[in-house]
């Protein structure tokens, strides 16, 4: 890769032969040009020999001006995997491979075609390898699709074998020699070009990496002209619109989930997702088949498990993810990759395998206070070969993860606190207005009634005690214990009625208690009556026991009183309930 960057800077044909350059000789050049898609790939094997007096450590590669503009990717590697040389000593030779990938190198000809026509394209190159060095032996082969070849330049020793055109071998050509050739052939493959692709990779330390890709796509082949017809593609599917982009295939990482496919106006329902352990294949159809020159725009998105792309080294975390689009055979004119790091990341740096523009932004997303740091990378003219891994390093404290849930919790907490404060706060403006005073008085009355209620309840509890003592009496026959109980309850009740008195006088005096006063008074009266009845019953029972009358006899005597007591008790209970609800 080091070579590629260097050569990109020095490719030029205007460079005149200098002594250092002429020292090298290309003893054998073997070029294979693949014209099997709309991306042109030239793979060359070069054998370089040092014919000069010094050790050489650099080799220059040259490209014609026409191609240089379209060069997207250049890669040189030694032909034999293990061979490694520091410099080329005098007389030594070395073989290496060069892969050059070009975009927009095929020109449609004719430039406009009807919907049913096939698409013909033109490719231009030189039959001779363009090099600042002398080339001893060279050959060229062009690999086309298995389809019609409209025309091609015939030179000496040109052969056509099936879908392959061969030029050469040519021997002993001087530096910078060239001989233009043109191939005109059928290529119906869809020329899908993304004019702009924005990839947003958002990291959440809660376990997800969200990838969103916004495409602006154009069919870069021959322009469509004339009338559109829906009839023919439906009737004779194979004949019609051969060069139209009908679908695109994306190879997503194996554990991709939550995949979606939509555009500015909603979901697009035509897509298929197949997955296995090695990859996830997403097949998407644009809303309409794209003929030459037609555009579309869409967004795909998917989630990846965090542990598949996030690693740690030397106290820093790094994201390791592919750089370019997962679509196959897609040319991208401008690619912008945004890596959104979690809020609170620091010490950020990006490492990419090739040169590109870089800067940082902030993005405000869910529950952010200062915004998330975004690393933005921009590169133009990309081909699938660029789809390599790149890394973004950053430092992130695990505790920062808790920030957002805590914010939510505290938000809800403060909301409830505010509600409680509002419920308890006195929001009235005037403290002396009649309604405010009335409200306050009513509040006091309510408290008093509550107290009355409590006292009556306690009275009733003592009644229960009396009843219990009676039951004990009937079981054990201990008259003395029963009498003692009676005495203690008497004392208690007296105290209670003492407590009741000031409350009653308050209620009688208070003007706001008028509506409820009658009920309260009734309650007190009934309670008193109940007590009297109860006492009477108690006395009768105790008396009867003292006289040692029979159980049946006692029951008969009590029964009448008992009925009255139950009725009274019921009334008191009802009244209590009523007062309780004030």
């Amino acid at each position: 890769m080091g070579i590629s960057r260097f050569v990109l800077l020095v490719f030029t044909i205007s460079m005149l032969a200098s002594p250092a350059l002429s020292d090298l000789v290309l003893s054998k050049v073997d070029r294979r040009i693949y014209l099997t898609s709309h991306i042109v790939r030239i793979s060359s094997t070069l054998e370089v020999e040092n014919a000069g007096p010094e050790t050489v450590s650099k080799v220059l590669l040259a490209f014609p001006d026409l191609q240089a503009q379209n060069l997207a990717y250049l890669m040189a590697s030694p032909h034999e995997a293990k061979a490694k040389v520091k410099g080329l000593t005098v007389g030594a030779s070395f073989t290496f491979d060069v892969l050059a990938v070009f975009t927009h190198a095929l020109r449609p000809m004719p430039e406009q075609i009807g919907q049913a026509d096939i698409q013909l394209v033109l490719y231009r190159d030189s039959a001779y390898y363009l090099s600042p060095y002398v080339v001893k032996v060279q050959s060229l082969s062009l690999k086309l699709l298995d389809s019609r070849i409209e025309s091609y330049t015939t030179l000496e020793s040109t052969k056509v074998q099936g879908s392959e055109i061969k030029y050469g071998p040519y021997e002993n050509l001087p530096a910078f020699s060239s001989s233009p050739i043109t191939v005109h052939f059928e290529n119906n493959l869809p020329f899908a070009i993304a004019q702009e692709l924005v990839r947003e990779i958002e990291i959440s330390h809660w376990g997800n990496v969200l990838v969103t890709e916004h495409y602006k796509l154009i069919h870069g082949g021959a322009q469509s002209k004339g009338e559109f017809s829906r009839l023919e593609p439906q009737a004779r599917e194979n004949v019609q619109g051969p060069s139209a982009v009908r679908y695109l295939v994306a190879h997503l990482p194996p554990r991709a989930h939550s995949v979606y496919y939509r555009d500015a106006i909603g979901n697009i329902s035509t897509s298929h997702l197949r997955g296995d352990s090695k990859k996830t294949e997403l097949l998407i159809e644009p809303r309409y088949p794209m003929f030459g020159g037609w555009r579309t725009a869409f967004t795909i998105g998917y989630g990846l498990p965090l542990q598949d792309c996030l690693y740690e080294s030397e106290g820093r975390r790094f994201l390791n993810i592919t750089f370019s689009s997962p679509m196959i055979e897609l040319v991208i004119d401008t690619l912008i990759v945004k890596v959104v790091l979690p809020e609170g990341s620091s010490d950020i740096s990006a490492a990419a395998p090739f040169f590109m523009k870089q800067w940082q932004e902030t993005k405000i997303s869910h529950l952010d206070i200062v915004g998330r740091a975004v690393v933005v990378l921009e590169k133009t003219n990309l081909v699938p070969e660029h789809n390599q891994y790149f890394q973004v390093y950053y430092k992130f404290n695990r505790l920062s993860m808790l920030r957002e849930p805590l914010m939510l919790i505290s938000g809800i907490f403060f909301f409830f606190v505010a509600c409680i404060v509002y419920m308890h706060a006195d929001t009235s403006i005037s403290k002396f207005s009649a309604s405010y005073l009335a409200k306050q008085q009513w509040e006091e009355v309510r408290v008093a009634i509550q107290q009355v209620h409590n006292i009556i309840c306690r009275c009733l509890a003592t009644h229960d005690k009396l009843e219990a003592s009676l039951r004990d009496l009937s079981r054990t026959g201990e008259v003395q214990a029963c009498k003692a109980a009676r005495k203690s309850t008497d004392g208690l009740l007296k105290e209670l009625s003492k407590e009741l008195k000031p409350l009653m006088t308050f209620l009688q005096s208070s003007p706001s208690a008028v509506q409820v006063l009658s009920k309260v008074e009734e309650l007190v009266a009934k309670e008193r009556e109940l007590l009297e009845k109860l006492m009477a019953k108690h006395s009768t029972a105790v008396e009867a026991y003292e006289k040692k009358s029979g159980a049946r006899d006692i029951e008969n005597r009590i029964a009448l009183q008992q009925q009255k007591i139950t009725a009274l008790r019921q009334e008191v209970d009802d009244l209590l309930e009523f007062i309780d609800e004030i």
Binding site: G226, E227, F228, S229, R230, L231, Q234, A235, D263, A264, I265, G266, N267, I268, S269, R287, Y288, W294, R295, T296, A297, I364, S365, H366, L367, D368, I369, G411, T566, Q570, E577, D580, E581
Partner: protein, 718 residues
């Protein structure tokens, strides 16, 4: 022992009856609030979070503009993309309430740092407001009857199909918030009348302002409230409370409503608002008379004074109205208003109103469909209201009766009647259930006493039934209660079914069952609109029937000639004329309108029946209404509308026919039928050899539902 100890333990947590009731009430309300929201989410689950139908697309587009450009730009927005070449002053011709509400919710969420998309806010605005409406219904029910009726009203309105039809998720239309505003205003006004407090009157004025900003239906409020006041005055229920409430609401409400540009001075100038003003003056006369009565002790003298003043006041009012109308200061009633009072008016005079299906008179079946048991509970509720007449019940009775009348006139006004029907039915349900449970509970108490006595429960119940004078009362009450619950549960299932089957389709995406029972989606509309957006020049002008105007501008982002804001009848008639002329004549019109693309909707392949061929007669009628060259009989054969071989020659060669059926004659849409068999109308088309001279097919969607034609430039003359 253990029993008593646990009860002792729980004693501090034991709630009083009142607290228990409050807890139950609040939890029911919360559940109803959630229910009202989630029952409207069918379409989001079945399709996606998207905007439905036609008008919501305009609202969505304007909301987007509001959030992107701010309020002042929105207010001053002149839209070049619609009504080409006239344009539309958007800020001055819409009710901004909905957009402002959605934008405020959006801002609030963003302020709280929830980075939601404005589309999600728009989609969920209607369900959110429906939930709020249930709360208002509860308070309203509580105000007019009791809290039980309020609860029932909240439950009924939460799932009532009549309301759901306009408030499902994605139906981002004015009605979504307007029903909330309407009910809220009414509630506040009734509260103000009951309390006679200035604060509630003020609140109702603001509620009215919100309603005016949200929907043209505010005219209903400004006519119903004066009518109600008038009824109170006539029935001798005039009070100081009423005086305060109405004056405050009217004066402040009027001033506030004038701030909405679309309403402006209509409040004092248009005939529709005059009733409110008349009642306002009448109130002053009443007040004055009251004062005079107070001052004069002589009743006879007062009677004379009364007759003189009333005559004078009525005469002055009549003269003022006459002069105003004659001088043109007071504008007469609009066509829409007339068509409400006289259902046949629109059919004869304004075909553009009559052409909309939701403006048709309501069929009985749709009452049944939208109200179900409420239709029977409504009269029962009226009976209970009359039994316990108060200011509040008079209001709800009047609201119910008037809105029921309007619901009968126009299908879409069922929506306005729904809250009233729900409230009145809730009174019926609540009163009935309450009476029945009182019967049941009184017996239970007797039974309880019996059990405390220690006798066996069987004995107690037999004793209890012996005590009763009517032996089968309890059983009868039981049976009636079960009946009521059965009916209510039927209502709930019916509502859910209706919501899921009828009211949750976005109508922009069509779904059908395929041959193998699988779900087939026809997404042709969006396919076509997105094609327009991507593959036509940004300044291209698209001509289509007005139904699709809003969608084309919102989704296709292209200029249209006419759209769903049918403010210029002539312009629409021109398009109608172009569609119903021969291609040569149509081309002249198309050139004069500077049209680049013509879009038609065609359902012949899929059997989609609401396409342009079925709407075509309205185009002819509307076109013919302005341009007498177009005559409806030319397109009919013996008064019959047909597209097959027997169709009228003008029909077979008009532009709409040609554009719809272009190259359709070569197609076999259905196996076993001849080519050119129109599945929407079930006939073989009459003209299979269609040649286009001035237009060419630019795009047709995969199911042929939308077809777009490009207008060719004129031929060189030499």
């Amino acid at each position: 022992m253990s029993n008593s100890s646990t009860s002792d333990l729980l004693k501090p947590f034991k709630l009083k009856t009142k607290q228990q009731e409050l807890l139950i009430r609040v939890s029911i309300l919360c559940l109803v609030y959630i229910l009202a929201f989630i029952t409207r989410l069918f379409s989001v689950l079945r399709y996606e979070s998207m905007i439905h139908e036609f008008d919501p697309y305009f609202n969505y587009r304007t909301t987007l503009y509001l959030t992107q450009h701010g309020f002042y730009d929105f207010w001053n927005w002149f839209d070049y993309e619609s009504w080409y070449p006239l344009g539309r002053i958007v800020g001055g011709t819409l009710y901004p309430g909905l957009m402002v509400t959605a934008a405020l919710i959006y801002r609030l969420l963003h302020f709280l740092r929830f980075a939601v998309h404005i589309r999600e806010v728009c989609v969920l605005t209607a369900p959110f407001f429906a939930s709020n409406t249930t709360l208002v219904a509860y308070f309203f029910g509580k105000e007019i009857w009791d809290s039980g009726a309020g609860l029932v009203a909240a439950i009924l309105i939460a799932v009532c199909p009549g309301y759901i039809s306009r408030s499902v998720a994605g139906s981002y239309d004015n009605e979504g918030v307007a029903i909330f505003a309407l009910l809220f205003t009414f509630y506040l006004f009734v509260k103000a009348v009951n309390k006679g407090s200035l604060a509630w009157g003020l609140a109702s004025a603001f509620g009215y302002f919100y309603m005016v900003s949200a929907w043209g239906g505010y005219v209903f409020i400004i006519n119903l409230i004066p009518l109600y006041v008038l009824v109170l005055l006539i029935t001798g229920r005039y009070s100081m409370r009423l005086y305060v409430a109405y004056n405050c609401m009217y004066i402040l409400g009027m001033l506030l409503a004038m701030q909405i540009r679309f309403v402006g001075f209509q409040h004092v100038q248009s005939g529709e608002h005059m009733a409110a003003m008349g009642v306002f003056f009448l109130m002053q006369v009443f007040y004055f008379l009251d004062w005079v009565k107070h001052m004069l002790s002589d009743t006879k003298l007062f009677q004379e004074f009364l007759s003189i003043t009333v005559t004078c006041a009525v005469a002055a009012g009549g003269i003022a109205l006459g002069v105003g109308a004659a001088s043109g200061y007071i504008s007469p009633w609009t066509g829409r208003f007339y068509s409400l009072l006289d259902p046949t008016y629109a059919k004869d005079h304004i075909p553009i109103i009559a052409s909309v299906s939701e403006h048709q008179p309501t069929a009985w079946s749709s009452f049944m469909f939208d109200f179900h048991i409420l239709l029977f509970l409504f009269p029962a509720g009226l009976y209970f209201c009359f039994k316990r007449l108060s200011d509040a019940t008079i209001f709800i009775v009047m609201y119910g009766l008037t809105s029921m009348y309007f619901a009968g006139v126009m299908v879409r006004l069922i929506l306005v009647a729904t809250p009233a029907v729900c409230l009145i039915s809730a009174i019926a349900v609540s009163a009935t259930v309450k009476n029945l449970t009182v019967l049941l509970r009184s017996k239970n108490k007797v039974a309880q006493i019996g059990s405390t006595k220690g006798t066996s429960s069987a004995k107690a119940s037999s004793k209890a039934s012996l005590d009763q004078s009517q032996p089968f009362q309890k059983n009868g009450a039981m049976a009636l209660l079960f009946g009521a619950f059965y009916l209510l549960s039927r209502y709930a299932t019916h509502c859910t079914w209706v919501t899921s089957e009828a009211y949750s389709s976005p109508s922009i995406v069509l779904a059908a069952r395929g041959a193998h029972g699988n779900r087939v989606i026809f997404d042709d509309y969006r396919e076509a609109y997105f094609w327009l957006r991507q593959n036509t020049p940004p300044d291209a002008k698209v001509m289509s029937w007005w139904d699709y105007g809003y969608q084309i501008t919102a989704m296709g982002n292209r200029t249209v000639i006419v759209d769903n804001n049918t403010w210029n009848n002539t312009h629409i008639a021109t398009v109608g004329r172009a569609m119903s002329s021969y291609e040569d004549e149509a081309y002249e019109i198309i050139r004069s309108l500077d049209v680049d693309y013509v879009l038609v909707v065609f359902g012949g392949v899929t059997g989609y029946s609401s396409d342009d061929i079925n709407k075509f007669l309205w185009m002819v009628r509307i076109g013919g209404g302005v341009f007498p060259v177009i005559k409806e009989p030319d397109y009919l054969v013996n008064g019959e509308y047909r597209v097959d071989k027997g169709a009228a020659p003008k029909m077979l060669n008009c532009l709409m026919y040609k554009l719809s059926y272009y190259r359709f004659g070569e197609m076999m849409p259905e196996y076993g039928k001849p080519p050119g068999y129109d599945r929407a109308r079930g006939v073989e088309i009459g003209n299979k050899d269609i040649k286009l001279e001035h237009l060419e097919e630019a795009f047709t969607t995969s199911n042929w539902i939308v077809r777009i034609y490009k207008v060719k430039p004129p031929n060189n003359r030499w």
